[in-house]
């Protein structure tokens, strides 16, 4: 299982005032709020943590088919912050989801997986638009629960895919086709 989330940092700054009273405590754990306070650029930490929660939520939503809004239940740890690439995990109801975040000054793209093993078998795209060859002989379909798949037009085999749009950016992660 995979999930991703992309954030256009410029747009996020316009759309959300994370400094408003009560905002952080509604959606971040005490430990995460501390990470935001300690960060050299607090707003970058807000959106990094937020993208991790969203990416992990998409996996949980795929698994359970239940929609909830309780971001504080998703607890992030970032043991490996290399600046432009951050690795860590999100804990939700005793399940751990590993993630990798790719970031630059204008966007953050986080990809989460249900098992570490998937991290080596995914393709990740980040950019202003999706490469068209991705859809060669494939069509994007959604099942009855709104979960997207890339369907091979010849074999009808579905490849799990997660797509996220925000502002000028789009991010996609797909499981590599089994050969």
């Amino acid at each position: 299982m995979i999930g991703n989330d992309i954030i256009d940092l410029h747009l996020a700054g316009q759309e959300s005032n994370w400094q408003r009273k009560g905002y952080l405590s509604k959606i971040f754990t005490a430990a995460e709020q501390e990470m935001i306070c300690q960060a050299s650029v607090p707003s970058d930490m807000v959106w990094l943590l937020w993208s991790c929660k969203e990416a992990a939520y998409k996996i949980v939503n795929r698994l359970t088919n239940v929609r909830i809004y309780n971001p504080a239940k998703f607890s992030c740890s970032l043991p490996d912050d290399q600046g432009d690439t951050v690795r860590g995990s999100v804990l939700h109801e005793a399940q751990t989801y590993s993630f990798i975040s790719y970031r630059n000054s204008s966007c953050i793209h986080t990809v989460a997986v249900s098992h570490d093993i998937f991290l080596s078998s995914i393709d990740v795209y980040t950019g202003g638009s999706l490469p068209l060859d991705l859809f060669t002989n494939k069509s994007l379909v959604k099942n009855q629960d709104g979960i997207p798949y890339l369907m091979n037009c010849f074999t009808y085999s579905p490849i799990p895919v997660s797509i996220s749009h925000h502002g000028n950016y789009v991010g996609l992660v797909q499981q590599k086709a089994v050969l």
Partner: protein
Amino acid sequence: MDKETLITQLKEIVKPYAKNEEALLNINENTDFVNDLKINSANLVDVVLDVEEQFNIVIDNESMERMLNVKSAIEIIEAKLGAQ
């Protein structure tokens, strides 16, 4: 407070965050904040905070979990106001 009044007040609250004007115009009990109004998930917390301020109530995380549509929002607001 009747349901129509509540929906009118909710409409004003979600207005700055809703990206689908038509769905906002036709807001009703069955309107979904995310699927219909296209409210960004990072702004759902603003809706929750605005509802808290407007109605002078506290929405705990357990209630917030369900606040994804007009129907649930009304149920939560009515329950919190009733408990006061």
